[in-house]
Amino acid sequence: MSEPAVILEGVSKGFAGLSRPALTALSGRIQAGMISGVVGPDGAGKTTLLRLMAGLLKPDAGGVRVFGRDPAEEAGPLRMQVGYMPQKFALYEDLTVLENLALHADLRAVTGADRERAFARLLEFTDLNRFTRRMAGKLSGGMKQKLGLACSLLGRPRLLLLDEPGVGVDPISRRELWAMVQQLAREGIAVVWSTAYLEEAESCDEVLLLNEGRLLFDGKPGAFTARLGARSLHLRGLAGCRRRALRRVLKFPEVSDGVIQGRSVRVILREGAKAPDPAGVDDADGSPYWVPVEPRFEDAFIDLLGGGPGGGSRLAERMRARAPTGDTLIEAESLTKRFGDFAATDRVSFSVKQGEIFGLLGPNGAGKSTTFKMMCGLLTPTAGRARVMGLDLQRSAGRARQRLGYMAQKFSLYGNLSVRGNLEFFSGIYGLHGARQRAAIASMLEAFHLEPFLEVRTDSLSPGFKQRLALACAVMHEPDILFLDEPTSGVDPVTRREFWSHINGVVERGVTVMVTTHFMDEAEYCDRIGLVYRGRLVAMAPPDELKAAAATDARPDPTMEDAFIELIRRHDSP
């Protein structure tokens, strides 16, 4: 094998004010001519690692060599050979596509005939020829990412560092980007693609798997999942409640992790364990049975971390049960929101019954949050109607809100208050006082394991604990309806499972949940999903039906993402 493009030797990097280093003693290699995935949940150290390779950071200890040079000390000669695409698009939104390209071309000394050729090649490659005069800010997420890629490719770098290029991009554009990057790798470029989506790791040639700043695995993704052998199983044939089934399954000592996948429950067995007898798991008269399935990268990751968090929810145990009524509690009627000439939500209709989990699934920027905010009465619709518990949110939002719990997408607690301060404030504004307030706070502290952090400033909590606290603040007043906007973004897979245990638990208590997510696999927990794409509700059905509807001869058992892409394709060309 030829000389690696990047050699990492015991690299450590910490930042002031953070309790644990961003990276600890990391060693690895990036080879030319292939896509190397830097994979791990948010906060794993991916961005730090890419910045170290780009020479934007200097390691505290250990060495980084890029093409034999130290990127922090010998930045000059390396900058021309390394293309770097930071997160968040990093484009000048008030410059046109062509002006953005021209700027980067000038910065990288691509001039004259070279430049004409490079522009022609890159615009063709990224399919941006039609949009050269459009402001970068007016491009879709996918096109922005392609433009960012084109900018970082000017000057023909030999190492391409892409920091989470899949974020904020719809699944179709993500696949297109992937195909482009694959072609670049074939041309001999060393490509580094960082991602928090563990399923993206499966397509990489090589993977550096990070967790909390440490390297968990380095090698081919297939080798990582192969460790599981035949320990990934589906429990099928369930007739009753799959949420209760999951909770029972997770109580088996043989099972290390379990998630809901449509009508099935997916489990990982502990090493050396035999599949337990599934009789008694179903609470209806189904006949559940085990089916071995292909292990996923995420399965192996969770297994390596020692398994999932178990299926109980102390939160749900403390909630009062609501009698099932079968009423429709949430209703959207051709809901539309326009910002100028742009329809963020376009004639969206759906209804949600009591005790149901309804999910809006779609890439960032598809219009999920806008729809969501109209449902909670935070945004006024341009047209159409949003009703919650029969109340029109435009007229009686106040009355409705008392019975709603809302968890915003962005962290929306008071960062400079302590955990206790936030709990007291949010219980107070929902009208809890005295003994009831104290009891509610005590039960939240216990349910979310927040007691050790009672007096800690909320700012300094880890992302996982911040999300837990945000959920606690949203449910303290025992709402009948929970609105959760991207509750698990920025949270590691283990904490995500814990979240879903809580959500599953409160739904069993008769609470109705509406949730948005851009994690395709998370949608499987929902009873029904609405696929949102460019402001429109493209499809709405239970997850298994969506997948079945998208099945083709070539792909008889599609993943949620496959289904999404297929359904959008059909929507675009009916």
Binding site: Y84, L95, L103
Partner: protein, 378 residues
């Protein structure tokens, strides 16, 4: 290979910055609309001139000379004279705000005017100290009226009048005593501070927020290129705005400009570089638009407004604040501009101001050059 400095890269960055300035309506508003609005407000809206201020007058003397002096007061447009019969009445009026001050012409006034040497004639002025600006102006105007009258009487009576140079100096450079002439140089300072500190700190912080700075740092650009690409376009914008203000002040509002343009150019250059340096320093530390604006407002805009002497007289400030103003570039810019507008190229005044501004621009630019990262961790 990339060299340490490339004109092509600098040109590309400046072009990008200029395009952003042209497309961002807020820079146009700050550089061209705001100055015009401020000029109109300060030129026509706000006036520190005392006109029709209610002034109580108590004539205890009752003689011809006293009547001659009080008629001078009532003849001025500055006052609306309220005659009174006793001090008690005047005190009551002053307390309830019926008058802003009062003048007492004492019993022996006429006698003293005629007696000539020995005991000069006196009048007493009592002002409402709760409104120091009005009190100051009352003081100035009554003193002026008094001086004018006593000089005239002295000439008529063939005597030498007592001199009050301090009072004379107040009217010297602003013979029309129009506060507009005095306020417009001050408002220029405010506008240049906003363009220099606020705008530059915002645009750099925006690059950090959007991640474009990270993309720039990962490209072959050098520190000097990044810095210059921020300084040059906004310097040009500031100068264009300056040209507009000076032209409209002189040609539209009739404010005199007695200095030379090249001195104005030099002074403005040093001031702009100082505040731009400050703005860049703020945003290289904070990297957040909201925080940058907040800090720029507090360390640049508010001091320029309050402590520069643009609107509030430094001599009227408490000792500690007065000492603080010596540290602020706007103070020197105000001083230099007033001199240039109202007096001319008075080098004795201009040189120290220019020297100080040159010093602060060098200081801030050095600090910025050091603080501008070439990596994300310094």
């Amino acid at each position: 290979m990339s060299s340490a400095f490339s004109l092509r890269r600098l040109g590309a960055l400046c072009l990008k910055e200029s395009r952003q300035i042209l497309r961002d309506p807020s820079s146009g508003v700050i550089a061209f609309a705001l100055p015009l609005v401020l000029l109109v407000i300060f030129g026509y809206g706000i006036s520190l001139d005392a006109k029709g201020v209610r002034l109580g007058v108590l004539d205890e003397d009752g003689g011809a000379e006293a009547a001659s002096f009080t008629s001078r007061l009532s003849g001025s447009t500055a006052f609306e004279v309220v005659p009174a019969a006793s001090r008690a009445e005047l005190d009551a009026l002053l307390q309830e705000g019926g008058v802003r001050g009062y003048v007492v012409v004492p019993q022996d006034f006429t006698r003293r005017v005629y007696s000539g040497c020995g005991e000069p004639a006196r009048v007493q002025l009592v002002t409402d100290g709760a409104e120091p600006n009005t009190a100051n102006f009352l003081n100035a105007y009554v003193s002026g009226a008094w001086l004018g009258w006593s000089e005239a009487r002295a000439r008529e009576l063939g005597r030498v009048a007592p001199a009050y140079p301090e009072v004379l100096a107040r009217h010297w450079f602003n013979p029309a005593a129009e506060s507009r002439h005095y306020l417009i140089p001050g408002s220029i300072v405010i506008i240049m501070t906003v363009i220099g500190a606020l705008l530059t700190s915002l645009v750099v912080a925006r690059e950090w927020e959007r991640g474009t700075m990270e993309a720039l740092l990962a490209s072959p650009v050098s520190r000097a290129e990044i810095l210059l690409s921020k300084l040059l376009p906004y310097y040009a914008l500031g100068m264009a705005s300056m040209g507009l203000i000076v032209a409209s002040a002189v040609f539209v509002m009739g404010v005199p400009f007695r200095g030379s343009l090249w001195v104005l150019f030099v002074v403005t250059t040093f001031f702009l570089l100082s505040v731009m340096g400050l703005g860049l320093l703020i945003s290289s530390k904070l990297r957040d638009q909201f925080e940058s604006a907040e800090i720029a407002l507090n360390v640049a805009f508010l001091p320029a407004m309050i402590l520069s002497g643009a609107f509030f007289e430094i001599s009227a400030m408490p000792e500690a604040l007065r000492a603080l103003t010596y540290l602020l570039p706007p103070r020197y810019f105000v001083d230099a501009l007033r001199t240039l507008f109202l007096a001319g190229d008075v080098w004795r005044v201009l040189l120290p101001n220019i020297a100080f501004l040159a010093g602060t621009s060098a200081l801030f630019l050095t600090l910025v050059a050091r603080a501008t990262p070439r990596r994300l961790d310094g």
